[in-house]
Symmetry: C2
Subunit: 134 residues, 2 copies
């Protein structure tokens, strides 16, 4: 009766819970402050959990923000193909789920003949709400 399902360790689960509950991307030290009541005391404990969670595709890093967001997209298997929409005004971040886009990018080859195994795309603009408020 071995549990073959991806089994998270204690710290990994704590960190994932925080990130999944959050409305937007969280920064590492903000995660740290949020989990101190649950026994995690040091940055490294958070960073190690983050590293693992990224590796198994449960979360993504928003590189332009140094922040971490839960994966909502079954298409980006193990974080190999990620795309985000980021509002420059309210900082809202949404993972883009678009089959055409992901196919296009996954199959992209440039003239160097290099075949890519992974990509990360970040779009910036104004979200609907912020556009209206302008």
């Amino acid at each position: 009766m071995t549990q073959k399902q991806e089994q998270l360790s204690k710290n990994q689960q704590i960190v994932l819970n925080i990130i999944e509950k959050a409305k937007g991307p969280l920064k590492a030290y903000s995660i740290l402050y949020n989990v101190q009541k649950r026994g995690i005391k040091a940055p490294l404990q958070v960073y190690r959990a983050l590293e693992k969670l990224i590796e198994i595709g449960k979360i993504h890093k928003i590189e332009s923000k140094n922040a971490f967001i839960a994966c909502k997209n079954s298409d980006c298997e193990i974080s190999k193909a990620t795309a985000f929409s980021i509002c420059n005004n309210c900082e809202h971040v949404k993972e883009i789920k678009n089959t055409k886009l992901s196919k296009y990018l996954s199959n992209f080859e440039d003239n160097s003949g290099m075949k890519y195994k992974k990509y990360n795309l970040e779009f910036f603009g104004l979200c609907k709400d912020c556009k209206l408020k302008q």
Copy 2:
């Protein structure tokens, strides 16, 4: 006889020179060490120059590496549309110049109806040389 051409300040020019001479992306503090002989002493002087150079499109930031590279692509006007190919092994970074790709992404709209003003795309894989050496 006014000089209407984009005129860089002293520090901006020093930093740009270093970045343009480099074979790959440079990190801010590595730039700092390289320009200390030219009178720039503090991180902030480098970061301010970097900020300006990014703003006017002379350089780009490789977000996944926190490093800065000279723009070689007249298509990415003022850094609004950037794409890079990054080798996971030798860390070689190349700006991708591909009209189809940039058109595709510049015109991309997802179902949120949000129209994007800017994007940054980073591809990862093995470059030709590193693929051969495997």
